[in-house]
């Protein structure tokens, strides 16, 4: 199956902090296909020796239309991220997609818990907005952690959402790198494993490294349904 390749222009750049940036892109060939919150596009990265594809989550909601936002950080020794950081307003990028299975199209009619680390808020952000757009009354929680305060992104937006939607609550945690997932595990166990026997909640976890899989395992072993614990490990 021939996959269509889209071309987009960088319309705007926003620096969240020194090593975290958002590019706002507008397709100039065709139109961004429909997508579910949480999906990513595959950017073609033309490096010196080869061409590689790298996934970048769409951090905006489908309802927002274009330009769409890609939020990423400068990964040490990461050729893809370095190339993305070199893009300037007016530059063109080629991509395929959107793709992905870590999505919410129809939020479950259950309490929802979102857990994210640093730029992994990118898929979570449109997922929360989709969850809050539904006329349901179940609580929606966000547990959002980072090693440094400046890596907790979209704080003003989260505050606004919390004021507009009383059923949405979030907590921001600044935790040293080595302890980050241990602390998240402790929080998850305290709040949603040990506190009660309710196992109807749905979880959406996005982060970096094996800590994501440990969170998955703790929840599933605690009795949450396998498909009620969704995750994406970067």
């Amino acid at each position: 199956m021939e996959r269509p390749i889209y071309r987009a222009r960088v319309e705007r750049i926003f620096d969240h902090c020194a090593d975290t940036r958002s590019l706002f892109l507008r397709t100039i060939s065709g139109r961004l296909p429909p997508y579910s919150p949480g999906m990513f596009v595959s950017i073609t990265i033309p490096l010196a020796q080869e061409v590689r594809v790298r996934p970048y989550t769409i951090a905006t909601s489908p309802e927002d239309g274009e330009p769409f936002e890609l939020c990423f950080n400068l990964v040490p020794n990461g050729p893809g991220a370095a190339w993305m950081f070199e893009r300037r307003v007016g530059d063109l990028l080629d991509f395929t997609g959107p793709f992905g299975a870590f999505t919410i199209e129809h939020p479950p009619e259950r309490e929802m818990v979102f857990i994210a680390e640093e730029t992994a808020i990118a898929p979570i952000r449109p997922m929360i907005r989709r969850a809050l757009s539904q006329p349901v009354v179940h609580p929606v929680h966000l547990l959002y952690a980072a090693q440094r305060p400046e890596h907790l992104l979209y704080r003003n937006e989260l505050e606004s959402l919390s004021k507009a939607h009383p059923r949405f609550g979030f907590e921001l945690l600044v935790i040293e790198h080595d302890s980050l997932y241990q602390r998240l595990l402790e929080e998850v166990e305290r709040r949603w494993v040990a506190r009660d026997k309710d196992r109807s909640r749905h979880f959406f976890v996005c982060g970096i490294g094996p800590g994501v899989l440990k969170l998955r395992d703790v929840l599933r072993q605690a009795g949450y349904e396998r498909r009620a614990v969704r995750y994406e490990q970067w």
Partner: protein, 124 residues
């Protein structure tokens, strides 16, 4: 030498590769020695929208021969395969299925549809 034969459901010509699993990785994406790694390293395209990181199903292959010569699927791979269009009992993600046996003869079918784009699935 191990071999892998690639059959395309869309009718594209079959490809056969001989390789030594001990020489993995062959390139940068997917688990070293995985079906994806072997194919890309030998100039055969297999889609891998997430870069071989077990975050999509575009490298979904159906193993026709040699399933027992591949590494065991992790829970993460199984979770992702749940969402693959056309899932079969012998489905694997090419980026995760590692060929370790130096004498393995693997045959894989690349399905016509491998993706979870919204136009093909409304599940979220």
């Amino acid at each position: 030498m191990a071999t892998i034969r690639v059959i395309y459901e869309n009718g594209s010509p079959e490809r056969v590769i001989e390789f030594d699993p001990a020489e993995a990785p062959f390139q940068h994406d997917g688990q070293p020695g995985s079906v994806l790694d072997v194919l890309l390293g030998h100039g055969i395209h297999l889609e891998h929208a997430c870069g071989g990181n077990c975050a999509c199903t575009t490298c979904h292959v159906i193993v026709k021969q040699g399933l027992n010569k591949l590494s065991e699927a992790s829970e993460q791979e199984e979770d992702m395969l749940d969402r693959a269009p056309g899932l079969t009992p012998t489905s694997r993600l090419g980026c995760q299925a590692v060929i370790e046996d130096p004498d393995a003869d693997i045959v894989v079918l690349v399905p016509r549809y491998t993706i979870n784009q919204i136009s093909e699935s409304r599940e979220g």
